[in-house]
Symmetry: C2
Subunit: 416 residues, 2 copies
Amino acid sequence: MKRTSRDIRTANRYEVLRQIIAESPTSRQELAAATGLSLATVATLVGELLDLRMITEVGFEDSAGGRPRGLVAVDASGGALIGVDIAETYVHVELFDLALNVLARADEDMRPGESRPEQVVGHVAAAVGSVVAQAGVEAARVLGVGVSVPGQVDRDTGVAQYAPNWDWHDVPLLGLLAEHIAHPLYLDNPLRACTVAELWCGAARGRGDAVVVNLGTGVGAGLALGGGLHRGVSNSAGEWGHTTLVLDGRLCHCGNHGCVETYVGAPGIMRNLRELDPHSALLHPGDQTATIDALARAVAQDDPVALKVVRDTARYLGAGISDLINLLNPEVVVLSSWVASRLGEPLLGEVRRAVARHALGRPLAATEIVLSPIPTDPVSLGAATFALEGALQFVGQRTSAKRTTAPARSRTAPPS
Amino acid sequence: MKRTSRDIRTANRYEVLRQIIAESPTSRQELAAATGLSLATVATLVGELLDLRMITEVGFEDSAGGRPRGLVAVDASGGALIGVDIAETYVHVELFDLALNVLARADEDMRPGESRPEQVVGHVAAAVGSVVAQAGVEAARVLGVGVSVPGQVDRDTGVAQYAPNWDWHDVPLLGLLAEHIAHPLYLDNPLRACTVAELWCGAARGRGDAVVVNLGTGVGAGLALGGGLHRGVSNSAGEWGHTTLVLDGRLCHCGNHGCVETYVGAPGIMRNLRELDPHSALLHPGDQTATIDALARAVAQDDPVALKVVRDTARYLGAGISDLINLLNPEVVVLSSWVASRLGEPLLGEVRRAVARHALGRPLAATEIVLSPIPTDPVSLGAATFALEGALQFVGQRTSAKRTTAPARSRTAPPS
């Protein structure tokens, strides 16, 4: 979508807070140098964050020969954020302080067949109640709850438009959640949650253009371009899993043939293994997690079949990532989600070699490929940062810049 | 790259001038409605453009019951712009007024083997001199000269880093041109020139996210995201021609196999024809233009082989464009360059059908695929708009907002 001056001011506010969270304590001068913003702009944004009590003044540092510089730091206790990761078989919820440290976690397992919206909403409400109670934070200090649900979402109306796991169509998820949760609510999907998590706390922080390659059961590429999430005209950008790698290749559940996802998602990797050795002991039919775990353990023991599967997978993945590098010319490509984290360095090494064979020299020289450095669940972290972004988005429009408490009633969409 | 507030102000200035060029005369209120900018922002930007004498006040219109609204229009005579399209066998130069109408054209043919930088520079200087003389404009009114050269360029230093046609490496092209041409000079490549041409005067104008698919001898995808050109971290974004469509498919001159370019560029289409009918009378070996022209004529006469070639090409092209739609979720995909314009509607129809079979429903519903509506050479038009953007880029930084005449000395890069 077209970006406005307000979008940029908002993005700059995010950028300054990100830098303060990463480098507390820090000075306005250091923030200007790190973000490329002018000192005047930084001073204005720091003033807003001080008024919101998200950050505090924490003293002075000497500057060589000049006036002492005021230092600011994030006020971890200035508010709490909740991130909700709704997956096919569980709901995972984390509560964060403003420094994005995890203060509490709660999990709810969903039994097979437990897929009605009210059932899922009940689990989410229970887990959110649990983390608030565990952390002992006042309700008024919770700045918001970000909710990630798989599939297509309309974040403005809070509707889960299509969730393939449960065949949900147009479920007003935030409306249902608002009956149980009295905090501002924000909806998005796991791909975009992982991408904003990298922007706030991971390998995309401070980078101009980044691609976050999500390798899980499904596959996607979150695009962080120009310092912000690229959503596309109808909020569906990033469907890299359904781009063609092998015309007329493997049949994909989307109805096409040869999609990237059929070669490098967990089911695709199981198929790569099955084609190599149909009777492999590594193969746990019907259990993706067990198979990927077995593969990771076998790679660590230099098992030749496991090494070959990783190499084959990296060949497909390297060709697909090279396409992203040639097309978008990003500064960094981040491998994220559970398949990437379990196969780890051995997969990364093979992918780097495959990309070096495939990508054009110029964009290749400008990019690096890394594993996500985020040690916790990136989806709930990303969901929480959606809530943080929501709390920051309308700062300039408030009649008073003084901190307001959380709204008494939840809203499904921010005021326009 | 990360976008700053200044980038956005500059982009807004472009956007307002684009709208004035398209809709003269127009009011500030209509501009605000068309661009989504606030009336205050529009008024400021209109004031700057008036000071620059790029636009003029042209009277008032009644508004229902309110004060009469002032109307502004582009001042076509407020300056001249020159666009230079350097191709493998010719140099084509056009001179435009500020309404982007062509006032003069000049062509220079290059003989085979005439590929030394000084030879090319001589042709460019002669053609630029010719259009200025033909149009009878004073040198001081030429706001700038945009130069498009194939391959990789460093626009900041004015260096042609790699031009595959002539095996140029790190040729300081703008420096050489500045010895002959006393106007500000701006360098870029044809893919990006065609993309900004669509942003200023074509199908991407006023659209948030657009992809300009260039089908020529080479193939690329110019990305106009968030209302501006996406360049990537090292100015090489858009190398869609070298993304993989068929893993292990046709050998590409880049060294890889199965690149999009080997199936849908002019040589790829010739190969599609040859595979279908090695002895086709449509095939002019070694002559891409003659072959594509023959194909276009045969399609118009319902020749079954020609129709099949277009359908085969559209199948490849449709899969590749579906990848762009799924990944980027654009509002519009524009088919540009000479192969697209010669194969025209028959190709467009087949591509639309192929994309409808391939792309995911949600991004497909949000996008349209069109032929470039630009009736003249998009490369020289785009090159001229680079010069126009250059003239507008530093408005806010001038000590006086009053119009300055063109600098006495050319510069190869704008002041930082």
